[in-house]
Symmetry: C2
Subunit: 226 residues, 2 copies
């Protein structure tokens, strides 16, 4: 049952699953597991299996029973349009309605499902074609293209600048263990409190704690300043 992606419509629930699958695969083309989807959506694996069958029939994912799923080209485009709407609404809520950046998620989860291409286009225009949302995440354009986020090494941040950890250069087990121990996981928000001239080490605030980090370590952590 092939439907052209231009005219296909998914239910809100299907859109939410697709979004979750998109986020869990995150660039990497490896499959996503049923359990991961279930826990990220706060639902049960049995419900996920059911939904994967449906999404597979609609060809927005490739589904092989007992193995993970991969999102298809159509699926990715569809997901990106939902994400586009979500992030545009977040910008609206923060910039125009004076919401705090941590109050917007739940409301945007509802607004992202409103179906009106004209609305999305006009909202984009009204907000002056923003490229990033209030969390620093990029807003896909109408074709699904995203602007690469300008990423810098943690030790290249300005003092008092804040941002989000988006990647690490060194991915040795020891390094990742260290990051995990101090709470510096991918996605964590960090603030650079001070730079030590002498050895280039930095004092940062991460996961509600302040700590010192050597220049060596800091230079391997990539940040998006927001």
């Amino acid at each position: 049952m092939k439907k052209d992606s231009q005219f296909m419509t998914l239910t809100n629930s299907e859109e939410n699953y697709l979004k979750a699958i998109y986020h869990l695969s995150d660039g990497g083309k490896k499959g996503v597991s049923t359990n991961d989807i279930a826990s990220s959506m706060k639902t049960k694996p049995a419900s996920v299996s059911d939904m994967l069958r449906k999404l597979g029939e609609k060809e927005v994912i490739n589904y092989r029973k007992y193995y993970g799923v991969q999102i298809t080209e159509e699926g990715r485009n569809y997901a990106l349009q939902v994400i586009r709407k979500h992030r545009l609404w977040e910008v609206f809520l923060v910039d125009k309605l004076k919401f705090n950046w941590d109050e917007v998620h739940e409301v945007a989860e509802q607004l992202e499902h409103v179906r009106s291409p004209l609305l999305t286009q006009r909202l984009d225009e009204f907000l002056n074609f923003p490229k990033f949302d209030p969390h620093g995440d990029p807003i896909p354009d109408e074709f699904g293209d995203v602007k690469a986020r300008p990423r810098i090494a943690l030790n290249d941040m300005e003092v008092n600048a804040a941002g989000q950890i988006v990647a690490v250069k060194d991915s040795s087990a020891a390094f990742l263990r260290y990051l995990d121990k101090v709470g510096a996981y991918i996605g964590a928000r960090v603030k650079l409190l001070d730079k030590v001239e002498f050895d280039g080490s930095v004092e940062i605030l991460v996961d509600q704690k302040t700590l010192f980090m050597s220049k060596d370590v800091a230079s391997n952590i990539l940040i998006v300043v927001t």
Copy 2:
């Protein structure tokens, strides 16, 4: 099963039914029929019966089988809040996103169901607490109170002013037949094209046609200028 109206939540579908019932009863306290609800919602009477039972259990309507339904105090308040959201979004779409006034309904039908008291409040603020929507309908405030629309007789309109027929003073059958014949039903949009000094008669545009109307007739038609 009594639920306090402050904390009760209805599904989107239940909200739509309640809104339809509210609009069909329109001030008058007489009951609304199952068939009327069905045709106004483009659904079948059997589906309506089912829903009425549910809405009755939730005490937003008084339901007696085989007789009409009446909306309760709680129901009316709930409906007014949905209508409030609908009309605020219409103002947003027209004033901020440059939609035409006849393009907004479908989108507002979706936006009216977004659940976030903070969003509604901030939107109201952002729009500068509008009292009427782009169609001239009043926007209930957070307590459900609506500002009475300033209504004037058709022949008291300014030349080139446009508005909507909201009521008639004379409701004799002959008069109503005449109105029906010329397409001047309640809710119709009219534009006053010219006034004849000599006899006080008016030239108007209604239902895509221009016609002359005596002062006597025009003075019995009440308009809200928009």
